[in-house]
């Protein structure tokens, strides 16, 4: 196999990096070959997730964070995810629009990804794309999720530090104590803090954090105010990401986080592969006739699923 491209990716050649990301996005044996070749060179980058509701200013904040890290001399990779239409399979990937300050800087690589049917706020190949950027020697990788609702929490498994971006006017104290996205925050940001109600949003988030039982060693996320569009407060966000990283190192939590990430990756890949192998035994007509049986109330969903599973087991035996 041709190995020139591996060296080109490792050297950070943007054409090679872009091609490798396309390959992992496409999936299948080509994707597996790319990951197999690059995996030994991963594990060095710091991975930071940025998530939050649509319109809270995630892309603008990512733009500002990247500018900070660039000034420090780090090379920055960005993966920005936007949703795929469930109806047409198309997507508008517009995160780059907010990251124009970074254009023309060879130390920054931005890649937009569509979810392509994956739920959870990321594309199924997002983590593979992060691994390509990691192998390409980017020191810091910022992963921006789709505009997340309440339960798109996959980013927390993929990133070492998760920044959750909120904005004034999106909900009251009950929203703040619900389970889900706020629970995964290592750093909480109230962006657009020049707007009315920013103080109340900060107070609601603080109250929620104060209700959590304290233990000496656990991390308490800060609640930070920013106006990302003017770069206000973003230095604090960088500082607190750094403090969280130092905390992970001091408590020896980085390895544990990485293990948890690999475990969830493995679960996801197994699900995907098992599903596709199971369905490969089946033609479309068979599937249709089974759905017909459900529609006529002859069989319920569990009976159909069990029948398919038994058939697959028999064909393997």
């Amino acid at each position: 196999m041709d190995t020139e491209w591996i060296e080109a990716v490792r050297a950070g050649n943007p054409r090679a990096v872009a091609r490798a990301i396309s390959a992992v996005e496409r999936g299948g044996p080509g994707a597996h070959a790319v990951i197999a070749a690059l995996f030994p060179f991963t594990g060095r980058a710091q991975i930071i997730g940025v998530t939050g509701a649509p319109g809270t200013g995630k892309s603008t904040l990512v733009n500002e964070l990247a500018k900070y890290y660039r000034r420090r001399g780090d090379r920055v990779g960005i993966v920005a995810v936007d949703p795929t239409s469930p109806f047409t399979g198309g997507a508008i990937l517009g995160d780059r629009l907010r990251m124009q300050d970074l254009s023309g800087d060879p130390g920054v690589f931005i890649r937009s990804m569509a979810t392509r049917g994956s739920l959870g706020g990321l594309a199924s190949a997002t983590f593979d794309a992060v691994q390509v950027l990691d192998a390409a020697g980017f020191d810091l990788i910022l992963v921006e999720t789709v505009g997340a609702g309440q339960s798109e929490v996959d980013i927390a498994k993929n990133a070492q530090t998760t920044v959750v971006v909120d904005a004034p006017g999106l909900g009251d104290e009950i929203q703040a104590i619900k389970a889900g996205i706020l629970e995964i925050a290592d750093v909480l940001v109230v962006n657009k803090a020049d707007r009315d109600g920013a103080g109340a949003t900060v107070a609601a988030l603080e109250m929620n954090l104060n209700l959590k039982p304290k233990s000496e060693k656990s991390w308490r996320p800060p609640v930070l105010k920013t106006v990302a569009i003017r770069g206000e407060g973003t230095g604090d966000v960088v500082d607190w990401i750094g403090k969280h990283r130092a905390y992970l190192e001091a408590e020896h939590l980085l390895k544990a986080k990485e293990r948890a990430r690999f475990r969830s990756e493995l679960d996801m890949v197994l699900q995907r592969e098992l599903m596709s192998r199971l369905l490969s035994h089946l033609d479309g007509d068979e599937m249709d006739s089974l759905v017909d049986k459900m529609a006529s109330r002859e069989m319920d969903v569990y009976q159909v699923a069990n029948q398919l599973l038994h058939a697959a087991e028999r064909s393997q035996a």
């Binding site: 490798a20 299948g28 198309g90 780059r96």
Partner: protein, 145 residues
């Protein structure tokens, strides 16, 4: 594995701020099942080429209404070539006089779409052209492809 979606970069070079047309095209291509990277107005030739490179797009679509296309487009093509993004399909639209079209085709633009173009025709044109290119590149093996 299903056919991967066509990736299209839509950019507006130069200084005119009339982006309605570019947005209509972006939306129409989305509805045609493509992944559209929208970079917005006031893009320099370098910014456009850089985005095309990093996003590994199949198509680069430029929208321009200022009349500066004969100045800007050659520079964009040059920046794209300098980065070795030589397999992306080049198309453009906006206010482009008929007499400029041969020169644009010479530069490598395979489609020039003026006002009144149906978005369905545009989507079909892109799908056919990209389909042909993919068939061709599948016959010549290249790394990580």
């Amino acid at each position: 594995m299903s056919e991967r979606p066509i990736r299209v970069l839509i950019a507006k070079p130069g200084l005119d701020g009339h982006d309605r047309g570019a947005k209509v095209v972006a939306r129409a291509l989305r509805d045609a099942g493509m992944e559209v990277i929208y970079t917005g107005i006031r893009q320099t030739p370098e910014m456009i080429a850089e985005a095309a490179l990093q996003e590994d797009v199949d198509v680069i679509g430029l929208s321009i209404l200022s009349g500066a296309h004969m100045d800007l487009f050659p520079r964009i093509v040059e920046e794209i070539k300098r980065r070795n993004v030589n397999d992306a399909l080049l198309v453009c639209g906006g206010i482009i006089p008929e007499e400029d079209i041969p020169a644009l085709e010479q530069m490598g633009f395979v489609g020039v779409f003026g006002p009144g173009t149906s978005t369905q025709d545009l989507a079909k044109f892109i799908r056919d052209e990209v389909g042909q290119r993919r068939t061709r590149s599948a016959q010549s093996p290249s790394p990580a492809r």
